[in-house]
């Protein structure tokens, strides 16, 4: 479980995160949603400590991240996996080595076990053995995302962060990746946090949803209550697409009947 309490962050006078508090539970897919530029990535990177927050607490099972020593942060990081917005694979390494690298650094397994584990993780995200020796520049965006997930889960993380896991993917591949993340979350009881502005994946896998608007947390709840909120910014976000406008209209018509 991760608890974020009254976090503020600004860049050279530009106040990006404004007093955000939230709880991310384990075994659940926690979603941070909001429009582009609302501060989702900054919030996620602050929670992992890639950005230093100006004030506030970030508690990993009670341990406050900003108070930890550099060494403790490194130890904590080994329990964290992250899928970056642009996959961020190491482009000097093959697909296989990308997943092998964290194991080689920190797992303490034998070479044979590490190779087994690497192959297991890559197969877990439905990558076939033929692609193992390719370089990131030689595979498609969807495959890169899957390799990145394999790398993120290689060291059995307790916390999994995904920054827009399905941006730039077709709806079908996006769905496969979403379901993969949801499955892994339940299977290993991981605390998963996903940034997204994709209504499909929010409805598909979001257990808990936090809506961020212009750096402020405006709303939180479940995916069922998202259509019934009276928060204007949230409604604008949710019903931006025609499809969901129709859904709402239909729901209202149904209620009146």
């Amino acid at each position: 479980m991760i608890e974020v309490k009254h976090v503020n962050k600004s860049f050279e006078g530009h106040h990006v995160l404004k007093d955000i508090s939230a709880v991310f539970e384990s075994g659940k897919v926690n979603m941070i949603i909001g429009r582009s530029g609302s501060g989702k990535t900054v919030l996620m990177k602050s929670v992992i400590g890639l950005h230093r927050v100006d004030s506030g607490r970030i508690e990993y099972n009670g341990r406050n991240l900003p108070d930890m020593s550099v060494k403790d942060v490194r130890l904590l990081r080994r329990e964290v996996g992250m899928l970056f917005q642009g996959a961020a694979l190491f482009d000097s390494m093959t697909v296989f080595d990308n997943v092998y690298f964290p194991l080689e650094m920190f797992s303490g397994l034998s070479a044979y076990e590490m190779r087994e584990r690497t192959a297991f993780c890559l197969n877990r995200v439905n990558l076939a053995d033929e692609s193992f020796e390719l370089f990131p520049s030689e595979i498609s965006g969807g495959m890169q995302k899957r390799v990145a997930i394999a790398r993120a889960i290689a060291l059995n993380p307790k916390y999994l962060f995904c920054d827009e896991p399905n941006s730039g993917l077709d709806p079908k591949t996006a769905l496969i990746i979403d379901q993969l993340i949801a499955e892994i979350t339940k299977e290993y009881d991981i605390t998963t946090i996903i940034n997204s502005h994709d209504m499909n994946s929010i409805m598909e896998i979001g257990d808990k949803i936090i809506f961020v608007n212009e750096g402020q947390k405006e709303w939180e709840g479940s995916k069922d209550s998202i259509f019934h909120s009276d928060n204007e910014a949230l409604n604008n976000f949710v019903f931006a697409s025609d499809l969901f406008k129709k859904v709402k209209k239909a729901a209202n018509a149904y209620k009146k009947m």
């Binding site: 990081r77 992250m82 961020a88 964290p102 790398r151």
Partner: protein, 246 residues
């Protein structure tokens, strides 16, 4: 950013770079890759430039010192000492600042803007140490070889002038390059080249590491790296020379 703040950030980064690697095996793997990339692959440009400069310097010196008062060994001696004292260390390092510096800055800068450095940090790796230490150490280790190659090849360039033209005779040249040789100069030139190698690699790494934005910003970072490391090389050349040759 003010120059003081930048210098401070640079030293803070170096503090993270110069710690023991997480895994020695991985360090040596990176280190040997960099030996090849930064050292061996710089050899062709070092050889081409040195041989031509050695030749041209011999020619120019001879043509401009056409005077019966001056001894015949003058040309060889001037060529040798210029190569030894300044060209093969300082000028060569300025050229390598362009080649190696921009290479390091753009590689690390690209890793920064594509979040690969963040990915390393998330795995729990000290990214500064993992990426930068092998580059600095490999380049510093290779530098003396590059300098010695440059001196030798430069002298060969001058020799070719003696061999293929009648501007200077081979024997005059050979006497000249051996006349009044001061071994301390070799120590001096290698010492300062080690210093410059450190400046080139670490300043470039600094600009790459703190790149922010997009591809254009990576280009900007690598330009800053080349310009600023060149200025630092010139400044420290003056400082080291006044300390070591006075």
């Amino acid at each position: 950013m003010g120059i003081i703040k930048e210098t401070g950030t640079y030293f803070l980064l170096m503090q993270r770079v110069f710690v023991l690697p997480d895994k020695w095996r991985i360090f040596f793997r990176q280190f040997s890759k960099e030996l090849e990339k930064l050292g061996l692959l710089s050899l062709p440009i070092v050889i081409i430039i040195s041989v031509f400069i050695g030749a041209i310097m011999t020619m120019q010196t001879k043509l401009n010192t056409e005077n019966p008062i001056l001894p015949t060994y003058t040309t060889g001696l001037v060529t040798r000492d210029t190569l030894l004292l300044e060209f093969s260390s300082t000028i060569m390092c300025l050229i390598l600042a362009g080649k190696v510096g921009s290479n390091i800055a753009s590689e690390i800068g690209t890793m920064r803007i594509t979040e690969q450095i963040d990915a390393l940090e998330i795995i729990g790796v000290n990214a500064a140490n993992y990426l930068i230490l092998p580059k600095i150490t490999a380049f510093v280790v290779m530098m003396p070889f590059l300098v010695i190659y440059s001196i030798v090849v430069g002298l060969v360039g001058g020799y070719c002038i003696g061999l293929f033209t009648d501007i200077i005779s081979v024997s005059d040249y050979l006497v000249g390059i051996q006349y009044a040789f001061i071994p301390y100069y070799v120590f001096y030139t290698i010492f300062k080249s080690l210093f410059f190698a450190h400046i080139i690699a670490s300043v470039a790494a600094y600009y790459g590491y703190y790149a922010y934005g997009g591809a254009l910003d990576v280009g900007r970072a690598s330009t800053s790296a080349v310009v600023n490391s060149s200025i630092l090389i010139l400044f420290f050349n003056l400082l080291i020379t006044s300390l070591m040759l006075n």
